[in-house]
């Protein structure tokens, strides 16, 4: 149980981290958080040792490097929306016919697009935050001792990764890594990709190991 709690908390932290990174520009609070945690900083190995971090002030770094890179990767030259990758006509589907939005609706989740500042709910940052929400729900299920709920959430997570995120995010992330001009987004793109792949393996394993055991074994 403890191990699972530990795992879930780590997953929540990692999904929280990568979704935030992919959704909006970084700020002081965000950078403070990753820099004050050695384990987290180690996820950004190039960033950790980047000379410019020592040479320039935080404001300069944000204004002249990180925000420029963010704009390039998420607003201008790459398209961080699932429907762009999955629709034949490469159009961004922002309305109710988007299967991702249909799924959110089905599970009673609503995306506040104005807060997210995206044009459609299938943005990579939103989808990652959706995984974060599912993990958070799973933590509550764990705390309530609801194995059925935990396993149902594993099923949902697995399906969402398989049918959505892993269907397209690797292509976007590989491009983002290649196109990035700062170690922050370079490492961030690689981290996100690797984490998604490993999380899929983890969930698959949990479904076969944990969820097939009898309830009393929990």
């Amino acid at each position: 149980m403890e191990q699972m709690k530990h795992d879930i908390e780590n997953r929540i932290a990692l999904y929280g981290l990568v979704s935030r990174l992919m959704l909006i520009e970084v700020n002081d609070a965000f950078l403070d958080t990753i820099e004050s945690d050695e384990a987290m900083l180690a996820l950004f190995p190039n960033y950790q040792h980047w000379k410019k971090r020592k040479e320039l002030g935080r404001k300069e770094l944000i204004d002249q490097y990180y925000n420029v890179d963010f704009t390039n990767l998420f607003l201008m030259h790459l398209v961080p929306y699932e429907s762009f990758y999955t629709r034949e006509d490469q159009m961004i589907e922002s309305g109710g016919d988007n299967p991702v939005i249909a799924l959110y609706n089905e599970l009673d989740f609503r995306v506040e697009l104005d807060r997210a500042r995206v044009v459609s709910a299938d943005h990579i940052g939103v989808e990652l935050e959706f995984m974060y929400m599912l993990c958070t729900a799973q933590k509550r299920a764990l705390e309530a001792g609801d194995k059925e709920g935990i396993c149902e959430l594993f099923e949902v997570q697995r399906a969402f990764l398989k049918e959505h995120l892993l269907e397209w995010a690797p292509m976007f992330l590989i491009n983002a890594k290649r196109e990035s001009r700062t170690p922050l987004y370079h490492d961030g793109a690689e981290l996100t990709l690797e984490f998604l792949l490993s999380d899929f393996e983890y969930i698959t394993q949990m479904l076969s190991d944990y969820c097939t055991k009898e309830m009393e074994n929990v």
């Binding site: 908390e9 929280g16 996820l43 309305g95 109710g96 609706n105 009673d108 935050e129």
Partner: protein, 1112 residues
């Protein structure tokens, strides 16, 4: 795999990727990083039943035509709120539901650029039925439109913000009695008063009936966006009084095209091309025909086509092209002739000839040239070839052409065009690889920028001809008249006269001065110069001409020549002279710099407020748009009836609260019938009075029923769709807004010439076979019994009689015989000088900004004529959206190396001084902001002439009207002007943001304009450079050659961006120098004003009008 994430010495991230969850506890803070964009909504009401689809299945969704009269749509905020599935549709029981609005979709067409993309105006019926005002809420595309396919650019959607412009002119205005032009004192008048006063002036002028009276009314039309109605206005008045804007626009390209084809533009098949070869940013960035052309180019590229953009500036198109070809502006001719040289003199990879002999042999008039031994001798004399060819066969022609173009080598072109050789070679390879499927549209840029710009167009087509790409076939280049429909002026059958007015008998020297017999279009850009040039007038009057010394009525129509033409102070000078222009009125939806100096401003409608038939050659089809006044159509469909059916558009706009906004079709019909010729004594009235009821003007339904009747396919479809209607053609077009008359128009020159019994039918005329002669070159000609002139009607090739091209030879004319006959023999074939000495001799085809003229390190060629994609020359100042996105986008582009050399940094104010290279005179300067960039070639500055609007008052008071009327508040800052007859200056005084906020109470359409509080721009980033530029009338094509030689230096302490200082006395001398040093005017012995076979646009003239006798 199990390596601890706590290890900070971890060097290999990949190795550790499986260990995300093991042995590490990430900071709790990590979990708080999530943005929190999800909201669980357990309290949301259960999904409501609804007929609405939350989102259409494709982005191309449009309501089906049968629902256009009533289509209910969810509010635009729907998507943010989760749709009806969460909130249901708004109703009394469900007030929080999504709002649904009933619309009527009225089709119309965009009128912002020339492309005429389809629009639908979404008229809000819900608000109207609930007691509110009838209004258009948005403009969307028209999916039925064959050209635009439901798509629009930013300018199309901006029609909405133009319609509800806070500074829209709400009623007709008249210069206050007792005030002078330009004082800015205005009173309110009515359409009836204005028509009575203007109509009387026109009547009194025409009543004299003499030659001068028929040269004293000038209809001066900005971009028409309709096909032929405007021409009919002066035509029906019996005056030679049409001035177009074309000589500041596209007349250079038209000249070169006319020489080849006797059609004035080409028409490419972008979608099927293998190579898209653009000269300038036209087509894909802006202008002819932006959204439609760009879409077809994108289609071609999806299929693998390559894109080449030749432009000294890295435009948006060049930026995404496969090859950017930056050439020194004005030297493009050299590059085209280089391509011709290689096509003629080299072989393909399999050893085959690169010339498409089948096409060239059949369809180029080489035979006419080779049989003109006298002309061949001239080519020898000029040094183009060494000796006259011994034979006159096709093979002899090819051998001669090989020799003639051999001097245009790679070394020469690299030096002349200042271009890297590798780029030129790559261009050649791409050109050859595409075979005959190369599409281009030669239009602005080079041909309108330079002295001899027409030769760029002339030469550009040569490599296309040689490769067979000018055959009008798939993926190649066709011609304009094949792909266009012009019936807007052909409603004659609905009039009392029942037929078109007769030809006009006079020739107006103010539009077609005797120095410019071959001018492509009217010399409108020098109208004020001609009016004020007493010496010039006296000279020609002494030679037997009868040049008018003034205009009785000058009528700009949606035109702003003061601002957009060169030498604006000269325009103002002329407009202020009431002895030179006795009356003036502008039919204009907006304020403008020109209106400020007129006597009346009569507010006419925008894209969704008027009727026009409009068609453009955007692809190998013949489609048309029909513009509708949306509010009028909506009211009429809901049962409203106007008091006077001939003024329904005006009445509808007043009823809907838009203002006293009218349209030209109803205006002209009414003023002609009731004021210009009320008793019919001038013979004008019958051309505008209704056949059904001659006591009144013709109605819209009557006019368009007759006009559209000229289109057989439209007529048949309308009859079938509206079998019980009295006006089926009109009603079908009112309801659909567009029509495709014919598609897949390829190689029409090969169509068999129609024959009925023993007669040939050409262009609607019947010619008895026994009257038709065949020339030695196979051309079929008929002789006019009255004038003895020969007219070509077809051509026989390999025993088949075909329609042929539109020229006298019915072939493409490599050799332009009329051009040789009309005093320009050395340029009757595509040619360009290759040495400095020859450039001086052949100055007529050498740009005024050639690098020969740049002798100091701060001297540059200034490229002025690229469009900003979201601006419309002078027509965007009424759109808050377009103004916002175009702010600060027009600095002076300067190459980084040049900037470094001159120590100019980004944002620096620089003084740009213009000097003419023909006269050597200085025109003055403007102050602009420099931006160093790699995106313009060294030695060439770029600064679009589309910024720098100005006004002299923020608002005007109208006696008796509660609010001041704002003047161009969204796009023109306040300036101070001085002018003393010799020097004019303009200095910025206040940003437009200040002006707008200071008079918030004057804004109209307040609900729509509540966001004007957000205006952040001051509009002060541009300069009125057009006023500094002198008119440069090209000696052949007559167009203004826009580019300028400039020198630059840092601005002084007192200078600010937007300042201009103009010596317009010098500018007058510059125009005179271009006229007197460069032209070859009519002279004693000339009998015609112009070759009759080159159609003079607009007003048809009689042989008498063409005839001339010049005395000593």
């Amino acid at each position: 795999m199990t390596k601890s994430m706590n290890s900070t010495t971890d060097k290999n991230f990949i190795e550790s990727r499986r260990s995300f969850l093991k042995g590490t506890a990430y900071s709790v803070a990590g979990a708080t990083l999530a943005t929190g964009v999800f909201k669980t909504v357990a309290d949301t009401p259960a999904s409501a039943e609804t007929k609405f689809t939350p989102t259409p299945s494709t982005l191309a969704f449009y309501p089906p035509l049968e629902e256009w009269d009533s289509f209910t749509e969810l509010d635009g905020n729907d998507w943010k709120r989760g749709g009806t599935s969460r909130n249901g549709v708004q109703s009394e029981e469900n007030p929080d539901g999504i709002k649904a609005t009933e619309y009527m979709l009225v089709p119309t067409a965009c009128s912002n650029c020339e492309a005429s993309c389809g629009l639908t105006a979404w008229v809000d019926l819900s608000t109207y039925k609930a007691g509110g005002q009838l209004a258009v809420r948005k403009y969307m595309g028209n999916p039925l439109h064959a050209g635009s396919r439901g798509r629009n650019c930013a300018k199309g959607y901006a029609t909405q913000s133009q319609m509800y412009d806070p500074d829209r002119i709400p009623f007709p205005l008249k210069r206050a009695p007792g005030s002078k032009r330009g004082e800015g004192k205005w009173i309110r008048t009515t359409w009836d008063e204005a028509m009575a006063e203007i109509g009387k002036k026109m009547h009194d002028t025409l009543k004299k009936g003499d030659e001068i009276s028929k040269k004293s009314i000038m209809y001066h039309v900005g971009r028409p966006n309709e096909n032929g109605f405007g021409h009919r206005v002066p035509h029906s008045l019996g005056v030679d009084g049409y001035d177009s804007h074309t000589n500041i626009c596209s007349a250079g390209a038209r000249q070169g095209t006319i020489q080849w084809t006797n059609d004035d533009r080409n028409s490419p098949d972008w979608a099927n091309a293998k190579l898209i070869f653009l000269q300038s940013s036209h087509a894909a960035d802006a202008g002819h025909y932006f959204q439609q052309a760009a879409g077809r180019i994108a289609d071609a590229r999806k299929k693998g086509a390559k894109l080449v953009v030749m432009d000294p500036r890295l435009s948006n198109s060049a930026g995404m092209a496969d090859l950017w070809v930056p050439v020194w502006p004005g030297t493009e001719t050299a590059l085209y002739l280089y391509l011709a040289n290689r096509i003629l003199n080299e072989k393909g990879i399999n050893g085959e000839d690169l010339v498409n002999h089948e096409f060239v042999r059949n369809w180029v008039n080489w035979d006419e040239l080779m049989n003109n031994r006298e002309y061949l001798a001239l080519l020898v004399e000029k040094g183009y070839i060494k000796s006259v060819p011994a034979g006159n066969s096709y093979e002899d022609f090819i051998e001669m052409a090989k020799e003639m173009y051999s001097p245009y080598t790679l070394d020469f072109v690299a030096e002349e065009c200042r271009i890297e050789k590798r780029i030129v070679e790559k261009l050649y390879d791409m050109f050859i690889d595409a075979g005959a499927r190369v599409a281009t549209y030669i239009w602005r840029a080079g041909p309108i920028g330079h002295k001899g710009g027409w030769m760029i167009a002339r030469s550009a087509f040569l490599p296309f001809v040689l490769r067979g790409a000018m055959a009008g076939d798939k993926g190649g280049v066709g011609l304009h008249h094949w792909h266009v429909i012009s019936v807007n002026g052909k409603g004659d059958k609905a009039t009392e006269a029942g037929d078109a007015p007769g030809k006009v008998d006079v020739w107006n020297e103010l539009a077609w001065p005797p120095e410019y017999p071959l001018s492509s279009y009217e010399m409108s850009h020098i109208l004020p110069h001609l009016l004020l040039d007493d010496e010039w007038r006296a000279k020609w009057n002494s030679k037997g001409l009868n040049v008018p010394e003034k205009l009785a009525v000058w009528i700009p129509r949606m035109y702003n020549p003061v601002w957009i033409n060169p030498d604006g102070f000269r325009w103002i000078e002329a407009l202020k002279r009431e002895d030179k222009i006795e009356m003036s009125f502008n039919l204009s939806p907006t304020w403008s710099e020109t209106n400020w100096f007129c006597d009346y401003i009569l507010p006419t409608g925008l894209a969704g407020e008027r009727h026009d038939q409009h068609s453009e050659a955007t692809e190998p089809k013949r489609w048309l748009s029909f513009r509708n006044p949306a509010l009028r159509v909506a009211l009429e469909k809901m049962g409203w009836k106007p008091k006077d059916p001939t003024r329904a558009t005006l009445e509808a706009h007043i009823k809907a609260g838009l203002g006293e906004i009218w349209e030209e079709v109803e205006f002209w019909a009414n003023i002609m019938v009731h004021h210009v010729d009320p008793d019919g004594s001038l013979g004008i009235r019958k051309h505008w009075a209704s056949k059904e009821d001659p006591s009144r003007a013709v109605t819209i339904a009557e006019w368009y029923q007759a006009a559209f009747d000229h289109l057989p396919n439209l007529r048949a479809a309308a009859k079938a769709a509206y079998p019980d209607s009295k006006y089926p053609n009109y009603e079908m077009m009112r309801d659909r807004g567009t029509w495709l008359e014919e598609a897949n128009i390829y190689k029409p020159q090969e169509r068999p010439l129609k024959k009925e019994g023993d007669a040939y039918i050409s262009h609607g005329h019947r010619y008895e076979a026994h009257e038709v002669e065949k020339t030695e070159f196979g051309t079929l000609v008929v002789t006019d019994h009255h004038t003895g002139e020969k007219q070509a009607i077809g051509i026989e090739l390999d025993g088949k009689v075909m329609e042929g091209f539109h020229t006298r030879s019915k072939k493409l004319e490599f050799f332009s015989s009329y051009f040789a006959e009309w005093k320009w023999p050395e340029y009757a074939v595509p040619i360009y000088p290759t040495t400095k000495e020859d450039r001086e001799k052949m100055t007529h085809v050498v740009t005024q900004v050639h690098h020969d003229f740049m002798t100091k390190e701060n001297e540059f060629a200034l490229n002025t004529i690229f469009r900003l994609p979201y601006n419309i020359h002078t027509r965007s100042v009424n759109s808050k959206h377009l103004m916002e996105i175009s702010q600060n986008h027009n600095p002076i582009w300067i190459n980084t190396e040049d900037a470094k050399r001159l120590n100019i940094k980004r944002g620096d104010a620089i003084k740009v001084t213009i000097t003419d290279t023909v006269s050597g005179l200085e025109s003055g300067y403007f102050i602009a902001m420099a931006v160093p960039t790699e995106a313009t070639m060294p030695g060439v500055l770029a600064n679009s002439h589309h910024a720098g609007r100005w006004k002299l008052k923020n608002a005007v008071e109208i006696p008796g009207f509660e609010h001041k009327l704002g003047v161009m508040g969204l796009g023109a800052p306040l300036y101070e002007m001085t002018m003393d007859g010799k020097v004019g200056t303009l200095k910025p005084k206040e940003g437009l943001d200040q002006g707008m906020q200071a008079r918030r109470d004057t804004w109209q359409f307040k609900e729509y304009n509540k966001d004007l509080d957000n205006i952040w721009w001051d509009g002060l980033s541009g300069s009125w450079q057009n006023a500094v530029a002198a008119s440069h009338p090209d000696p052949v094509a007559g167009n203004h050659a826009w580019h300028q030689k400039v020198s630059i230096e840092p601005a002084g302490k007192e200078d600010q961006i937007g300042d201009i200082w103009v010596n317009y006395e010098n500018n007058m001398k510059v125009y005179q120098a271009w006229r007197d040093k460069l032209t070859r005017p009519l002279a004693k012995g000339d009998t015609l004003r112009r070759p009759k076979h080159i159609k003079r646009p607009a007003v048809p003239l009689s042989h008498k009008a063409y005839s001339v006798e010049i005395t000593d």
